[in-house]
Symmetry: C2
């Protein structure tokens, strides 16, 4: 995202006090159109958890986007933004019974699951709905990998889909997720292959699954650039053709980061620049935002944001970048070899780029007494 000097001044005038996340809704709209164009045959469900800002949701509704929701609050936000319940997918495989009932009462008819226990709840509280069974998938290659928290084995998925049909649900398809900020376009294929196997097994049992939800994970430019989105589309479509032939299912994807991240710039203030000893090479730079104020994805230095300051033309030196709380794990970058201008001083603004996703809603309610991250939208 390029910010001109004028835009920057305007934004800072509006920002007033830091830290503040400025979301450019038009950039999110452009990102939606870019991925919708690359995946012209797919249903695009924006993963609301990435950033549920109402102005952003309204822009995406207008652009024709669908939504992936994780809670009753996210359902309310999407409906308030003008989305149709038919365009909502309750993609979180683990839900309270009351939340399923709440979604069903508001017209949501598409639910994810990955276990017999969850299936029971959906049968009871969302009878007749379409369900998508989530498969375990490897997230090797992802900057923010997904562990084994969600999904089940193919063997179990077959049984669960059959059980769903027996219970009067519509066993609509399968889902998987290869991990967020997944840089390797080849990582989708193994799960596409597994899904194709399961589709064939289910069809032999008389079921007709029709949707493959290939999840999100589509990467954006941080400090390191990602491949263009077309590379991921090409790889996924090649995998679909290789494993499904001409009988490919309807493709569904759930981009969150890809749409929201480039739309955000987090304005932070330098609270202190210091050294711990006379022999230290690196300066410590303490910002007024950190891991508990919205930069949770810097855990283990996983997501490495690009930074911009007013001194970027001058010479730089190595820094350790830390947040404002008394908690010593509140350090963003200690091993990732960040450099910042030697001219940087307390009171200067550091712009943290690409921070539109997985930031504001992660902020703590008030650890150390610091207020949560504010969001301003633009225009």
């Amino acid at each position: 995202m390029t910010v001109t000097a004028d835009e920057e001044l305007t934004a800072l005038g509006a920002v007033g006090r830091t830290p503040c996340l400025v979301i450019d809704v038009e950039v999110a709209g452009e990102q939606y159109r870019r991925i919708a164009s690359a995946f012209a045959d797919a249903e695009i469900h924006y993963a609301v958890k990435a950033n549920p800002e109402p102005a952003l949701l309204r822009a995406l509704v207008e652009a024709g986007c669908r939504f992936d929701v994780a809670s009753r609050t996210e359902i309310d936000l999407c409906l308030a933004a003008g989305a149709s319940p038919a365009d909502l997918s309750y993609g979180h495989p683990i839900k309270k019974p009351g939340d399923i009932a709440y979604a069903y009462a508001r017209g949501v008819r598409l639910f994810a699951f990955d276990s017999a226990g969850e299936l029971d709840k959906i049968v009871t509280h969302a009878p007749g709905s379409a369900v998508i069974c989530r498969l375990l998938a490897s997230s090797d290659g992802a900057r923010w990998p997904l562990s084994r928290k969600f999904g089940c084995t193919g063997e179990m998925a077959v049984d669960l889909m059959k059980a769903a049909a027996v219970c009067g649900l519509d066993p609509a398809g399968l889902a998987f997720h290869v991990g967020s900020q997944q840089l390797d376009p080849g990582r989708w294929e193994p799960s596409v292959a597994l899904a194709a196997d399961i589709f064939r097994t289910l069809e032999q049992s008389g079921l007709s699954p029709r949707i493959l939800n290939a999840g999100g994970g589509f990467p954006v430019d941080y400090r390191v650039s990602a491949l263009p989105i077309a590379a991921y589309s090409v790889a996924i479509h090649a995998a679909l053709f290789r494993h499904f032939g001409h009988r490919a299912p309807k493709l569904m994807i759930e981009p969150g980061r890809y749409i929201a991240a480039p739309a955000g710039v987090l304005h932070a203030e330098v609270v202190l620049v210091s050294k711990k000893s006379y022999s230290d090479e690196s300066r410590w730079v303490y910002l007024d935002v950190g891991r508990f104020g919205g930069l949770a994805e810097t855990e283990d230095e996983a997501i490495q944001y690009a930074l911009a300051t007013a001194h970027d033309d001058g010479p730089t030196g190595p820094v350790i970048l830390a947040g404002p709380t008394c908690d010593s794990v509140d350090i963003m970058y200690q091993h990732a070899h960040y450099e910042l201008p030697l001219a940087l001083r307390a009171g200067d603004v550091v712009r943290i780029l690409g921070t539109g996703a997985y930031t504001a809603t992660y902020a703590s309610v008030g650890f150390n007494g610091f207020p949560p991250l504010r969001t301003l939208t633009n225009p």
Copy 2:
């Protein structure tokens, strides 16, 4: 903390919906009296960041406790609870100039620092105040260690204390912190020895430092029990005598966890119990609270809470314990060999014990659309 069946029912009646943190203010008061008795010669400053609940602060003011604050919000909370500004220490070494001025205007006259840049701010915005220079300290042995984020070397501390005197501040003493939930009573001694060296050097330069702030870190019982607080008092006082002889400085300590943790029980609901495959030994147990809802200190499974359920008399089996969000790092315990009753079902309540410190204020404002952790106080 022992909760009787009656208390439990009362608490649950009040809780209504989970997750909910129930704080027993009397337990916090008992903990204060326990540590004040073990450290009868010390000034006890409760680290407000551990839990800034107003009822808890009021009880501590009444008990005669002082306070360690990290922000203007925490200052306001302490003053509102009835604390005198003379009993507040602004112990965060990194502050915005406006926050220092805010504290000074409200009567705070004791500030921590660890760098020349911070000293400049204090000179300008809190003229004539007492300052305490924080030293780098090893936090080996701590469950929640403190890295190098705060503190400077002894060599630099000597220069900073001299500079403070020249600038009209009162160079009152030194501080260090051996890491939170520090289990080893022997870990305070190396920093006491370093501080004694610096005291002698400063005295030779004509300064008269008089306070040694030995920080917090005093451990509480989680899944594993800690030594009684007397063990830490004995070790610290022995170190003081060994290195300062009969000229020991005034001791100051900053317990946070020790006072607040045992006062809290987090009531959570089981959202799902499932397996990922037919061959898995461990069940996955998903609660409605996790790393982004207040259990931030389960990062890397550092703090291992004791759990209680209504089925604890029955047989148990291994579990992986995960939180409710779609984020796959939202797993509390995967390698720590937790077991829970085989009878545990979705809808059951799990009580997470010892959760009065570093929980509620860490909770995210609304990641995945889940509301922040509520706190109820008792009585």
